[in-house]
Each structure stands twice: as structure tokens, then as C-alpha cells.
Chain length 420, copies 2
């Protein structure tokens, strides 16, 4: 009497077992819906404030995402189709190299070499599922519990969460309008066992400014002196409107740096293609972490993206989008001036896809954040950027994913939310 | 003199800085190829023996993968295309819910309800990048450093690696031909602070046997008594050739279980779609871990797979494949008998996509493993399955991804490798 057939459902353990055993539910319904059921084991609870922005009811303001609607769908669908046929023909749809598709690794290495001055080959590249996974991988191979990781006074919260989750002690360093304060880095290095610093030197997150060249060099000196690694998150290298950008720090000090990049801004966030670029042995170590974490990436997506880079589609798309986004940036600045006059300060960003908006009176910001949900407005909380008391609170608002009309509507909504 | 233009490469830090600063390379070449460069920071080294099987020169024997060549490519390419157009139309190609596409979560919940007796809704599902990520997520939310995790004497090495990487103390429990030894579990629970057990009750990995019903119930009693969680990895539920399978343990004790599944065997490993099914609050906790780890999955792939489940394509494909694989299983058994006569013992598996092959003389196995690389043969090392000294070493060889001819060739190669 141990087994009972349940038709096409397969065989279930019989319900006629002695009472002393775990009660077994009837075949239909087998159990009450487990959505309302509590787990009877201990597990780590999530933080009260979610890191992720939930899907919007009305208008979601992102932190600098591209406009996915403008991506040429037919081109991407064709690339998926040809990747699928090629991979099936070559029997490459099985479990594969944890570092990712060799085609994509070669294209990424080629792109970094030609456009960003990184003298690397495919052996220096590990493909990740977006840049967050790159940051998490870097944290996993660098941090032992108790090691200090330096982050800027204002920074990218999911990165901080990744370091914390590996047992890091988070040490906040000062920041000004030229980027991170290198003297404060030195001070913190004398006080802590610093293993790494997390930086976004190209466009500081969230403030959008570029790290000044002299500070970059001083930072690398300190990295050498105190033997820490630099995690350089170059999350939106491509979009610059004013002038040629500085090259990544990884181009002149690759031995000090784990360089994290993403194709989310070049293509679509939904594709989840990022990469880590680092010395060979570091990549080997990261590859091992990938096997523990998720085995490998989606071969079809990786091959399709490789094709889009190889055929120049990505370059063409970026060129086109740079014009669109430059217009949107200017229109957003104008709308900010008109809609939030006297309330905010901001600089028009040289590059990247977001504005950093400070409020002259914090009370205005507080009211906006309090009233936003009722108005159907969603954006990253000003407190999410802050790693030390007293750091300037502000809003980081992406301008690229919004049409001019939507941007205007969003800013009008912000204005409305600011009303007492 | 801080900046120097480098044409389309952007601006690099000038090479004319004082010597005391970090030397800056010439614009072309900017640095020596960093493949040969060493990282000048400390990082965790990978283990000497890689977990991943590298791509094969000649013939790779997997541990039970489906045959990706038989998947209808046109159907998948069309599903990707329609997912892409739908997502673009609905502006869903941005950063989204870390739990995954709601369409896919609903389809997976429906499938688990209809076919596996799990009374769940989409709220109980978090999509992962393959089942390894599901296991890793479970480890992340269950384990505090020093907690014991029970694993079977023979088990899936990447799971063990995931637990270890979260600081777990791995405790090996005995195993026989009916699955895990529940008396040994009780003994270990009295000796250790056990937080979880990792099990593959449907088809024990690597030995392929189903866990006997009485042991399942006793195990759940122990889970209640000692308050540990059961991580039930149901990695290839679908393929059964003999009889209706037992339902997952999660169907009758969902409050005790984190159920990890995968669509890799139903569809293609390369798509990287797995899922975790658990009580709502556990899913919320896992969703937070996803935001730290890789933010979210690939929306296009998730929506495309949802469509393939919804339209019945997956069911049709599995029905067809079950016939193909049943034939391949029988042919493989015959070939094993003929090619490795007198050398091996094995049972023909009732379900799943692999054989567990024991060797009468370990010397034969040792020679095979020693000679395999020279013959271009690749397979998971027999030691990779073992978590305690003295556990039976054997080979787990997938039969589903090989044509009958290739299977025969592989077994002839194994025979050749066994020669002194």
C-alpha cells in the first residue's frame, strides 16, 4: 500500500499510511495552495527595502536605461535565428565553456582593443549575465569575510549589496565634483585592510562626473602601495555627447583592475550580456565561480550578440542612438529648467544616459519621495545611493528611455509630487 | 599635459607624466597583451580540477544531456521572434522583475500543478539561469558559515561546490540501491547542526535510482524533527520509460522543501532556464538574492519558452523525444553489454538520460580515466561524484545526446582506453 496511481499525474505516495507518518494529501487537491503556506525551515530574510524597482503602474523613471523600443527588432530576431541554426549544426547547444561563447568573447575583446585601448584577447574575457554578475564575481574572488571594500559616498547600491553578501566591510570614501577623494582613500587604507575599491570612473554613479586624470593616477599609485584591486565598472562607456571620453583605467593599468562591462546599454538590458575583462588567471578563477553559480550563459544570445557586433550592427545602432539621446538630453535639461525651476540644481551630463538632480531644499525631495507612489511615479530612492551620513541626497533620472513628451510628463509629475 | 588625444580611441592619460607615477603605455600598442600579464592583487584561486568539462576534441560523454540537434529549430526561432516583438511593443525590454517573466512563471506553475502535483501559483516560482543557479540561491538563503549540509555519498559535485562556497560544512551520508540511508541521516543530525539536505530523489545523481517511498516519508519526519530544509533537485523529471514516476516530495511536503527544476532537459541546456519553487516568502528572499547576483534573466528567452510551453510544443517535443530516448537507452544497454562485457555492472535506468556504470575491477576504471584524454574521450571524473572515502566509484554516461552509432563508438573507445 505504499504507492497509489494518480493517472497521468504519475504515482504518489499512498494516503493510507500510518498516522504517525507525515500526513500525505489527497490526490486532488494534493495540498492547499502553497502561496499561503509558510516555510518550516529557517532562511535569510530579504531587506525591508527592495533593491529592485518593481514594474511601473504608470511611469517608471530609470537610472539610465536605453530605449528598447528603438532597437531594430528584425535584426535581432534574424541574429537569433542564425545563431540557433549555426549552434544546432555545430552541436553547440549543450553544456559549454563557463567563460561563454568564444565568438562573443573574441568580438568583445576586439571591441575593447579597437575602441577602448585595452590590449586583450578572448582569454581575458568572461561573459556574464549583465554587469551585476560581473561585480558579484569580482566580489567572490577578491573578498574574504572582514576584508574592507572602499565605495564612494554616493554609489551603486546593488554593487554594495554584492560586496556585503561576500562578507565585506564596506568603507565609504568621500566624493566631490571631480570624482572620488584620493586623499580619503589613502586615509582609509591606513585604517583598514582594503582589498578592493569599487569605482565607476567613466561616469560616476550616480553623479555622472568623470574621474579626473590626476586622481586616476594617484589612485593607481595607492592601489600598488596598499595592494588592493580596482573594480572598474564601465557601465555606459559608449554614450558621450561632448568630447572624446577618457580611456578606461584598465587600458593603462590592467594588472590592477577587474574591468566590468555590459552590452545592456548598447543593445538591450533584457538580453543580459555583460563581461569581465581581467588577467588570464583572474578569468580562470571567475570561470570557476561561474560553474558554481549558473554553469554558463545562453549560447544563442551570446552568439546572436557576437554576430551583431561582428557585422557592425551594434556600432551603427549606437551611432544612431547617440544622436537621438543627445536630443533627448537637451530636451530633458530644458524641461528640467522649466518644470522644476528654483527647486533643483543639475549639470547637463557630458555622457551617459542620466541626470543627477540635487534639491535646494531637502524638504522638496522628501515630499516628492513621499507622494510619488500615489502619483504612480517610480524611481530609485535617493537614500539608495548613499553610503555615509551627510552625503548629498539627490535623484538619478535616466533621460534616454523616455520620449520628450513622456519626459515632460514625468517632470510635471515630479513637480506635482513636490507640492505640500 | 594630462590628456593626449588618440583619435577615435578617445582621450588617454598623457604619456609625459613624471616617472614616479604609474607608467602609462604608448597609445599604440597601449600595453603588452595582458593575457601574459599577472594580476597584482590577491584573488581566490580556482581548484586544481575544473568542475566544468571542457569542449571535446573528439567525443564528449555527458552526464545526461538531451540531444539539442533534435529540437525543432524553426519553432524556437519563431518563438524568439514573437517574444521579441511582443516585449518591444509592451516596452518590456528594460530592467524587470528579478523573479522572471510573469508569463513563464505562470506556465511553469501550471506545468508543476498539472503534471507533478505541486499546488502552486506563479508567486511560488522564481526563474533562474539553469538549475545550478537554483541550487546556489537555495544555498545562499539557507546557509550560515559553519552550518552542516547533508549530501549523499555519491552526488552532484557542482551542488557541493555551491554549498561549500557559502561556508557550509559538508556532511556525507550513506547511500544504497534504494537511495539515501535515512538512519544515517538521523545519526548525522544528532552530531551536526544540519540546515539542509541536498537530494535528487527522482533519479539519484549519479546512480539513477528513485528514492523509496518509505524513506521519503522518514526523511520528511526527520526534517521536521531536526528543522532542516530539503533541497529537492528534480533535474530530469520528464523522461521515464518504464512506469509513471513518483511525484516530487514537494507535492506532499511543500513547507519543508525548496524544489529546483530545469527546462534544460525538456528543451536545451543552452537556453539556461531553470526555476525554484518554494513558499512565497522564500521566493521573495531568493528574488533579493537574484538582484544581488545577476539582476534578472533574459526576458526574450523566458517569454519564448513560456510560449513553447503554452502552445504545447514542449509537451509534443517531450513525447517524441521519450520514444527516441527509449530506443537509445535500449541500444546503449545492448552496446554496453557487448563492448564492455565482463568489465562492468549496470542497471538499465527506468527513467532519466544516463547510465550509472560500475567496474568489477577498479584497475579497469583507473586505466580508462588515465588513457581517455589521449583518445580524445571526455567525461566527468569518477572521483567528482564522491563525497566520502570508500564510496563506489563509477561513470555516469548520458545516452540521450548520442546517436546509436556515436554511442557505440564511444563505448569502443572506453574499451580501448581500458587496455593496459
Amino acid at each position: 500500500g505504499w504507492l497509489a496511481s494518480s493517472g497521468t499525474r504519475g504515482t504518489i505516495v499512498s494516503t493510507s499510511l500510518p498516522d504517525s507518518l507525515t500526513p500525505v494529501p489527497q490526490a486532488s487537491p494534493l495540498a492547499k495552495a502553497s502561496t499561503v503556506m509558510n516555510a518550516e525551515y529557517q532562511f535569510k530574510k530579504p531587506p525591508a527595502r527592495s533593491l529592485a524597482i518593481p514594474a511601473g503602474k504608470w511611469l517608471k523613471l530609470d537610472e539610465g536605461a536605453p530605449d528598447g523600443r528603438l532597437f531594430p527588432k528584425d535584426v535581432l530576431a534574424r541574429a537569433y535565428r542564425s545563431a540557433l541554426y549555426r549552434a544546432a549544426r555545430e552541436n553547440r547547444l549543450q553544456y559549454r565553456d563557463p567563460r561563454g561563447s568564444i565568438m562573443l568573447r573574441e568580438e568583445v575583446a576586439g571591441m575593447l582593443k579597437a575602441q577602448r585601448g585595452l590590449m586583450v584577447t578572448a582569454e581575458n574575457i568572461c561573459i556574464t549575465r549583465g554587469s551585476q554578475m560581473g561585480i558579484f564575481m569580482a566580489a567572490r574572488i577578491l573578498i574574504q569575510p572582514g576584508d574592507a571594500v572602499l565605495v564612494e559616498a554616493l554609489t551603486y547600491e546593488p554593487a554594495v549589496a554584492a560586496f556585503k553578501s561576500c562578507g565585506a566591510k564596506i568603507v565609504s570614501v568621500k566624493l566631490d565634483k571631480h570624482g572620488v577623494d584620493v586623499e580619503d582613500i589613502e586615509r582609509q587604507c591606513r585604517l583598514n585592510r582594503v582589498r578592493a575599491i569599487f569605482l565607476t570612473p567613466h561616469h560616476q554613479f550616480p553623479t555622472t562626473v568623470a574621474l579626473r586624470p590626476d586622481r586616476r593616477l594617484r589612485l593607481l599609485e595607492l592601489a600598488r602601495q596598499f595592494a588592493f584591486a580596482v573594480i572598474e565598472d564601465d557601465y555606459d562607456h559608449e554614450y558621450h555627447f561632448q568630447s572624446q571620453p577618457l580611456l578606461p583605467m584598465a587600458s593603462y593599468a590592467p594588472e590592477r583592475i577587474i574591468y566590468v562591462g555590459s552590452l545592456s546599454k548598447l543593445l538591450l538590458p533584457a538580453l543580459r550580456i555583460g563581461y569581465v575583462c581581467a588577467p588570464l588567471q583572474v578569468i580562470e578563477s571567475i570561470a570557476h565561480e561561474v560553474t558554481v553559480l549558473d554553469s554558463m550563459g545562453n549560447t544563442l544570445t551570446e552568439d546572436a550578440v557576437a554576430e551583431l557586433i561582428g557585422t557592425g550592427e551594434v556600432r551603427r545602432h549606437v551611432r544612431k542612438m547617440t544622436q537621438v539621446y543627445a536630443q533627448r538630453r537637451d530636451a530633458f535639461a530644458k524641461a528640467l529648467d522649466e518644470e522644476l525651476t528654483d527647486m533643483v540644481d543639475f549639470e547637463v551630463p557630458d555622457g551617459g544616459l542620466a541626470f543627477w538632480i540635487r534639491f535646494r531644499k531637502l524638504a522638496d525631495l522628501d515630499r516628492i519621495e513621499k507622494n510619488a507612489p500615489d502619483l504612480g511615479l517610480q524611481f530609485a530612492a535617493s537614500r539608495s545611493f548613499i553610503t555615509r551620513p551627510g552625503a548629498t541626497r539627490g535623484l538619478r533620472i535616466g533621460f534616454a528611455s523616455l520620449s520628450e513628451r513622456d519626459a515632460r510628463a514625468a517632470l510635471k509629475a515630479l513637480r506635482q509630487a513636490a507640492k505640500p
